[in-house]
Amino acid sequence: MMMKKKYRDLIIVSGIAVMIILAAVYGKRRDAETQKELIEAFFPSSQYHIERVNGNKWKLSSSNLLYSGNIYIGEGKGYNGAVSIMVQTDHQGRISQLNIIANHETPSYFQKLKINNFLKTASQVKIGDYVSGEPIDAVSGATITSRAIMQGIRNGNTKGENIAVSNSFHPSFGILEFIIVALLIAGLILQVIKNRKIRRTIRWTSLIVSFAMLGFVYNQPITLSRIVAILNGHFPDIRYEFYFYLLLGGSIMAIIFTKKNIYCRSICPFSAAQEILAKTGRAKTFHTKYYRRLKYLQWGFTLGAILLALVLNNPGAAQYEVFGAFFQLTGTVILFVVLFIVVILSLFIYRPWCNFMCPMDGVFAYVRMIRNMISK
């Protein structure tokens, strides 16, 4: 019997791994368009003449010879993957056009608007100003994407002109990182303390801190699209997103060493939101004999979303969480309808999102399965 379960687990774990690898390979199979095609989409060859200088720089002149300038193409690290930026400048380095030519960012309406405006602001600065750093502020709500845009401009310019830049590694340790470490420690302490009163105080303190800070102030939970991006080989920029490595790494370590999923218990801001709603409505745990089957459905759905996003090579497609909708009012109409239902249900049922819908549950369950398998 024991043997049988072990083999079953092995089949499930490796089966899922194989599916993910196959999907990722399939998604990457399509070659990106050539740079020339990308540029010609903006500067049709009937009106413009383009000439390649190197992998990042092209010379541009209009057919009537009234205009000439340079085009730089560079990449920055976005939320869900690389963001390719095309910058058109005149010979004085003034930016006349700034376009995102390829990206995997989640297409939320507001984010799109913010980024369009950011592009306008970003093009009011000379290209040379990006070499030494970030001449303009990132927009809140699209911080990572706006940083990626600036990084892309810098990248295209410095590589295109062979400008040397020091790329030193300075992980920033700010308030967000501090909060995450504190929450991780609190989560671990909860596993050892037996006194109910102290447990309750610690748990509620971390839930409220997470709700306010991780939720409303920073809005930085672990999202499925992030996981997919990593599976796709895109790791977030550690200089700006050290917190993410802390959060994900810490949560996985906790599972490996304590077998407990502390992220979902006391760190996730939306779980905090549901706890608060449950307290408000004195929600009850939803008992059903189909619990196990519903769980498989939840996990299966997650796996499906991951595979779909990998096949489409678009991590944003996997995002069906309602964090953004709840904390920042961003997302599609369907997400808002789901959120509305979840919020009302949370008043009467204990943590309906975590128990029956959240994709992170499946991800952590998979990690725990691997851990259990190895430890045996």
């Binding site: 709603l277 408000t280 004195r282 509305f340 008043l347």
Partner: protein, 97 residues
């Protein structure tokens, strides 16, 4: 409210006043007949909740009237959601002993 009439507007608000009085009286009878024990802050919270709900609905529909349909739906769903949650919370508070 009624642009072409000088009398219907005041009448409307008289009727509204009557409706609020009846609903309050009904709620008062309903509470005194039930096992719920009320005190001043429970009354205050209940009245504030109902007032807030009225303002939320009026606000959303004002935006509809301004042809800001999208904004109206947003206003109603965000603040309406908040008031439903507060309503359930208030209900639990009233019925707790």
């Amino acid at each position: 409210m009624f642009p072409n009439s000088t009398i219907l507007g005041p009448l409307f608000w008289i009727v509204m006043g009557g409706l609020y009085t009846i609903s309050f009286t009904g709620f008062y009878y309903w509470i005194t007949d039930s096992i719920i024990k009320m005190n001043w802050w429970k009354w205050l919270l209940s009245i504030l909740w109902f007032l807030g709900l009225n303002i939320t609905i009026a606000g959303g529909f004002t935006l509809f009237g301004e042809k800001e349909i999208r904004a109206g739906f947003w206003f109603l769903s965000v603040f309406g959601g908040v008031f439903i949650v507060l309503g359930v919370g208030l209900w639990r508070l009233l019925t707790s002993r």
